[in-house]
C-alpha cells in the first residue's frame, strides 16, 4: 500500500489507486491529489506530505467523548443494520465501568428478534445494569425511563441502544428524532453524544449515511467498527473532510475489551501499512 515506485507523473495514479482502495472515495482522493500536485512536492517527500494532509483533514480535536458535569452523560447509538451498535455498547460499558463510572444500558431496540436478550448478555458480561421493557414497546419510552432512572440514582453514563435503521426509511428516521427529543426534554443538553456506528467495510454509502443522519437527527461523532478486518475505513477521511465529524471510538474485535479511543496518528499509520 502506498509504495511509490514511480518518480514521475504516474506516481499520482498510484496515489489515487491507494486512496480508492481504502474507500476514501474518488472525489476526496482527487481533491487531495490536486492540492498536493499544486504544491511543489518532491517524490521523496510525498509519503510525509500525504500523511500530513490526511492528518490535517482528520483534525486534532473532538475525539473524546463528551461528559457533562453534574448530570448523567447520555450517549445515543444509531446506525444501519448490523454495523455493531449493540456490541459496541457492551464494550463501552465495560470500559467506562473500569474507569470508575456507573453505567446504565438502555435497551431501546424493541423491534429486532432477540435484540433485548443480546444486549442483556452483554450487560451481564460487564456487570452493568440494563433497563428494558417488553419487545414492541415504544423505544422513546425506554429512553425516557432510562434517563429517569439515571437522574434518580445518580448514574454517570447512560448508553442507549437502538434498532438498526437505513437512513432512507423515513418512519424510522422520524422515530429516531422522537427518541432524541425525548432525551432533550428530559435532560437539557442530552443526548451529549449521538454516535453513528459505521462498519469499516462500508463503501461510499457510509458518507451518505453520515450526511443523512447528520441532517435529520444530528451526529456528534462516529464509532468505526470491525477495523480488525482488512478494510481500512478510509470513508471516515471523506466524512471528516466533508462533514467535519470526528471518529471517537473504534471497534477491533468481538470481545469485551476490543474497543479503543480513536487515535488519528495510529489510524494514518495503519493506512500506510
Amino acid at each position: 500500500f502506498f509504495k511509490f515506485f514511480a518518480k514521475d507523473e504516474s506516481v499520482w495514479d498510484e496515489v489515487e489507486e491507494a486512496f480508492i482502495n481504502t474507500d476514501v472515495g474518488i472525489e476526496t482522493a482527487l481533491r487531495i491529489i490536486d492540492e498536493l500536485r499544486n504544491s511543489s512536492i518532491k517524490p521523496e517527500g510525498l509519503r510525509i506530505a500525504l500523511k500530513e494532509k490526511i492528518s490535517s483533514i482528520l483534525g486534532t480535536q473532538g475525539f473524546c467523548l463528551n461528559f457533562p458535569s453534574n448530570m448523567p452523560a447520555i450517549f445515543l447509538f444509531i446506525g444501519v443494520n448490523g454495523s455493531g451498535k449493540t456490541t459496541t455498547i457492551g464494550k463501552l460499558a465495560f470500559k467506562l465501568k473500569n474507569e470508575g463510572k456507573s453505567v446504565l444500558i438502555a435497551a431501546a431496540d424493541t423491534y429486532r428478534a432477540a435484540a433485548i436478550p443480546q444486549l442483556e448478555e452483554w450487560a451481564r458480561r460487564c456487570g452493568v445494569e440494563i433497563l428494558k421493557q417488553q419487545e414492541g414497546a415504544d423505544p422513546g419510552a425506554v429512553a425516557y425511563d432510562a434517563l429517569d432512572a439515571a437522574i434518580a440514582r445518580n448514574i454517570d453514563v447512560v448508553l442507549i441502544d437502538t434498532a438498526g435503521r437505513l437512513h432512507t426509511k423515513h418512519h424510522l428516521v422520524r422515530e429516531m428524532k422522537k427518541i432524541r427529543e425525548i432525551c432533550e426534554k428530559k435532560i437539557p443538553g442530552a443526548p451529549h453524544e449521538i454516535l453513528l456506528v459505521l462498519d469499516a467495510v462500508s463503501g461510499q454509502n457510509g458518507l451518505i449515511q453520515a450526511q443523512n443522519f447528520l441532517e435529520s437527527v444530528g451526529i456528534s461523532g462516529i464509532v468505526l467498527t470491525k477495523l480488525d478486518g482488512t478494510a481500512k475505513g478510509g470513508i471516515i477521511i471523506s466524512i471528516a473532510d466533508k462533514l467535519k465529524l470526528p471518529v471517537k471510538l473504534i471497534g477491533v474485535g468481538e470481545g469485551l475489551e476490543d474497543i479503543g479511543e480513536f487515535n488519528p496518528v495510529e489510524f494514518v499509520e495503519a493506512l500506510f501499512e
Partner: protein, 288 residues
C-alpha cells in the same frame, strides 16, 4: 448521474456516424467516476472499462439512438451481461442443503429464515440450524424467526460442528427435506474460524454454499469474496440491505473476480423481503 453526464458530453458533439476514440475516452472517464462512486473495485472498474472501450470505438450509432444513448446502451448491456448471463438459481423446490457464510452483521441469520420461508411457501419442510455458538442470543434470534414461519430450528450443541451433527440426525428423524445452516459471522482472515467453516462444509457437503454480503460493502468486496471462494468454495452470493440507497458496486466486483452468480437480493428486514437477483435492475442501480 452517469447518463446525464454522458448526454452532456455528446451534446457538444454533433451528429456522428461512428463513435470515435475521443468520444469513447471522454465517456470512459465519466464511467470510471460513476463506477468508483458506486463502490466497484478499482481494478475491476479498470478491467470493465477496458472491455467497454474496445467494444465502443468504431461502433456504428444506431439510427434510433444518439451517440450518448448508444454508449449508455453499450455500457448497460455489458454490465447486464457480466452480472447475469445465465444465472443458476437456488432451486427452492428441490435443494436439500444450504450453508450460509459471511462477515459479521451482513444478514446471514435473517436471510436463512427468508430462504426457509420461500420453501414453506412451496410446501416444503426445511430445518433451520443455528450453528453460531458465539454471538449472544444468536440461537434465540433464529428460534424467534423460525417460530414466526413455523419452521423447526435446531440449536443443540456446544460447538458449531456438534450442532451440525445433531441437526443431520434431527432432519432424518423428522423427515425435513432441506437443511439450512446459519453460521457465525467471521473475518476471512480469521484462520481458526475459517478452519471451522471448512469442517462444517465438509460434514454437510451442501448443495448450495452461499456467501452473504452487505450491499454497501466497499473496495474490500473483492478480497472478501475471493478469499471465501478460494478457502471454502462458494456456489453463489446473496447481496443484502439493497432496500437502502447503496449503489451495490460490490455485485460487479464479486461477479467479475469470482465468477460466482448473485442469486438473491435482500430488500428488507421482513421475512418475505428476499428477491431474485435481476441483472438489469442492478446495472441501472450501479450506474446511478
Amino acid at each position: 448521474v452517469f447518463s446525464t453526464k454522458i448526454q452532456g458530453i455528446f451534446n457538444k458533439l454533433r451528429k456522428k456516424g461512428l463513435l470515435s476514440k475521443d468520444d469513447v475516452t471522454a465517456t470512459m472517464r465519466e464511467l470510471r467516476v460513476a463506477l468508483l462512486e458506486a463502490d466497484v473495485n478499482f481494478k475491476v472498474a479498470k478491467e470493465f472499462i477496458g472491455k467497454i472501450s474496445e467494444k465502443a470505438v468504431g461502433v456504428e450509432i444506431l439510427k434510433s439512438l444518439n451517440p450518448a444513448q448508444h454508449v449508455i446502451k453499450i455500457v448497460k448491456d455489458e454490465l447486464v451481461e457480466v452480472l447475469g448471463g445465465d444465472i443458476p438459481q437456488v432451486r427452492i423446490e428441490s435443494v436439500k442443503s444450504i450453508l450460509m457464510l459471511g462477515l459479521q452483521g451482513c444478514g446471514k441469520t435473517t436471510t436463512s429464515a427468508k430462504l426457509a420461508y420461500k420453501m414453506i411457501q412451496r410446501k416444503r419442510h426445511p430445518l433451520l440450524v443455528g450453528a453460531d455458538p458465539y454471538r449472544p442470543a444468536a440461537k434465540e434470534q433464529l428460534q424467534i424467526l423460525g417460530k414466526k414461519i413455523s419452521v423447526p430450528v435446531f440449536i443443540d450443541g456446544k460447538t458449531a460442528i456438534e450442532t451440525l451433527n445433531g441437526s443431520l440426525e434431527y432432519a432424518k428423524e423428522h423427515k425435513c427435506d432441506c437443511i439450512i445452516v446459519d453460521s457465525a459471522g467471521r473475518l476471512h482472515v480469521d484462520n481458526e474460524l475459517m478452519d471451522e467453516l471448512k469442517v462444517l462444509k465438509q460434514r454437510l457437503n451442501p448443495e448450495e454454499c452461499l456467501l452473504i454480503v452487505d450491499g454497501m460493502t466497499g473496495q474490500e468486496a473483492v478480497n472478501i469474496a475471493s478469499t471465501f471462494e478460494k478457502e471454502i468454495g462458494i456456489s453463489g452470493v446473496i447481496l443484502t440491505k439493497l432496500d437502502g440507497d447503496a449503489r451495490g458496486g460490490a455485485a460487479l466486483s464479486i461477479k467479475m473476480v469470482t465468477g460466482k452468480p448473485i442469486k438473491f437480493m435482500g430488500v428488507g428486514e421482513n421475512i418475505e423481503q428476499l428477491e431474485p437477483f435481476y441483472p438489469d435492475r442492478m446495472a441501472q442501480r450501479i450506474l446511478g
